[in-house]
């Protein structure tokens, strides 16, 4: 207080708050109203500093609190930690891992010794080969490229297509990959076994079967040649309906399995806690 009055030439604090800088209206060094309007509640540097201090303090308090909560959970839990439990890493786990590893490496070496790759013809830009195929793991993508009939003609645009067949097929990869990314955010809950989640297992079976039928779609032109009854369009619709069929069957089977599964669980439960 004493320092304050000494600096402000004897003015009191009350005057200071009520009418800041009004002792001489001609000499104003704060830039006037335009820069710092009266009643502006933007924080001072001190306040800013305190706020950042507040954040770190908050973080610290949160950590303290969550540690305390963990301890409370641990105290409440009836899980008893014992001294020696499961298998030791050496030798048990290591011997199992080494045997699996050497078996797998052995299989690779055996297969590559018995089925080496052929010596193909050199690249020739002037002659397109009759059958172009990527490696098997990209068949699904190559099959998607042959789904032109899905690219519908829109009546609004006078029977024109929004995207060319090729662009459409390439863009069709997008939603499929995005669906894969979204899986954990669409299917929540604690169910783990397929019996406990028939719907999502059916979705999975749909995906697997779709990958297979899309791989077959990659050779649709060969199939249409060999099997005269199947037109290319018919094959495509077959390839889209087989996954649906598989999904429905999976759903039905798992649903009926769940009845028995839940019955078993319930029976065990009621044996422990008989109904009153």
């Amino acid at each position: 207080m004493t320092e304050h009055t000494a600096i402000d030439d004897g003015r009191t604090d009350a005057e200071d708050v009520a009418d800041p800088g009004s002792d001489d209206p001609d000499v104003r060094t704060d830039g006037g109203e335009a820069i710092a309007p009266a009643g502006d509640d933007s924080p001072s540097f001190r306040e800013r500093k305190e706020r950042t201090d507040g954040l770190s303090r908050l973080t610290y308090e949160y950590f303290e609190r969550s540690r305390r909560e963990d301890q409370v959970l641990r105290d409440d839990s009836d899980y008893v930690e014992r001294d020696v439990l499961g298998f030791p890493a050496w030798p048990h786990e290591m011997i199992r891992n080494l045997s699996i590893t050497s078996f797998f490496v052995g299989v690779i070496l055996f297969v590559s010794a018995t089925m080496p790759p052929p010596l193909e013809a050199a690249a020739n830009p002037t002659s397109t080969p009759a059958v172009i195929l990527p490696d098997w793991y990209l068949y699904w993508s190559f099959g998607i490229l042959k789904t032109e009939p899905l690219n519908l003609e829109l009546a609004i645009l006078g029977g024109e297509k929004i995207a060319s067949d090729r662009t459409f097929a390439v863009l069709l990869h997008g939603p499929i990959i995005v669906m894969l990314f979204l899986v954990p955010f669409l299917n929540k809950g604690s169910a783990r076994r397929p019996v406990e989640q028939p719907f999502w297992s059916a979705v999975g079976v749909f995906g697997v079967l779709l990958a297979f039928t899309m791989s077959l779609q990659a050779i649709v032109n060969l199939m249409a040649q060999r099997l005269p009854l199947l037109t290319a369009d018919l094959i495509l619709w077959l390839h889209l309906s087989i996954p649906f069929l598989g999904a429905v069957i999976t759903y039905a089977v798992l649903k009926s399995m769940r009845e028995g599964y839940m019955y078993d669980l319930n029976r065990r439960y009621y044996r422990l806690r008989p109904p009153r």
Binding site: P88, I100, V107, S112, P184, G204
Partner: protein, 268 residues
Amino acid sequence: MSLERTDEFDRGDWIEEKDLSRVERGYLVTLMWLDKRFRLVDYLELLEDAYYKTNLQMPKSHTEQYNLDNKFWYWYPLYSLGSLSIIAYVILAISGALLGFYYSPSATTAAGQEATIAYNQMVFIMTDLNFGFMLRSIHRWAAQFMVAAVFLHMLRVYFTGAYKEPRELNWILGVVLILLTLLFGYSGYVLPWNQLAYWAAQIGLEMARSVPIIGEWAAQLLFGGFSPGAPTLMRMYILHVFVLPFVVTALIAIHVGIVWMQGIAEPH
């Protein structure tokens, strides 16, 4: 104040009272001398820590706690698919490095030759080089096994619901890794520069070009032009042996690290 060094912990007296033999004394003095300079005790602590961790007796797992082992053991092969793909990846790295000694990513034709240098080098590896035929065969088959293991690994994770609550980000990382594995396979498929490789490059190029807006740019970035040629092969090569190995190895390390941190999601 004296300029003589003081013995803060009174080590001299400590050694005296130990009544050591000459060898023991020499050892202890050397150890203390080295420790003062190199902080050996810290490393000894690390070693001790590693020793106890190797011989750690794991706490009872979920499977053991609820006696699921009799139901679990025949699913075990499905739970080793992730490590199988890593093993295949290691085999690929080794055989790929050996192949790289002899391969040359050049789609130009040397004077007096009919085929391109890349194709001729591939033929050299397969016909002239000792063990080269087997080497290429191993690299190719290990790639097939890796892709298969990665696909099956994803199916196992899906059908056992292992991507659920704490593990969403690792699932996303896994999807990224699968896409990168496919890109790895594709770029490797192009390298021999045979008929199928050339036309696979052609199809990839057309696919890249038909993406709206960024298509042409993507085609030029990945394939170095609008028709397959020397720049295409060079870019696929750099992708295959320089870019992807670093990225995929780093992502696999993160993927496994997260599994290590969060634990394996066991069936319920």
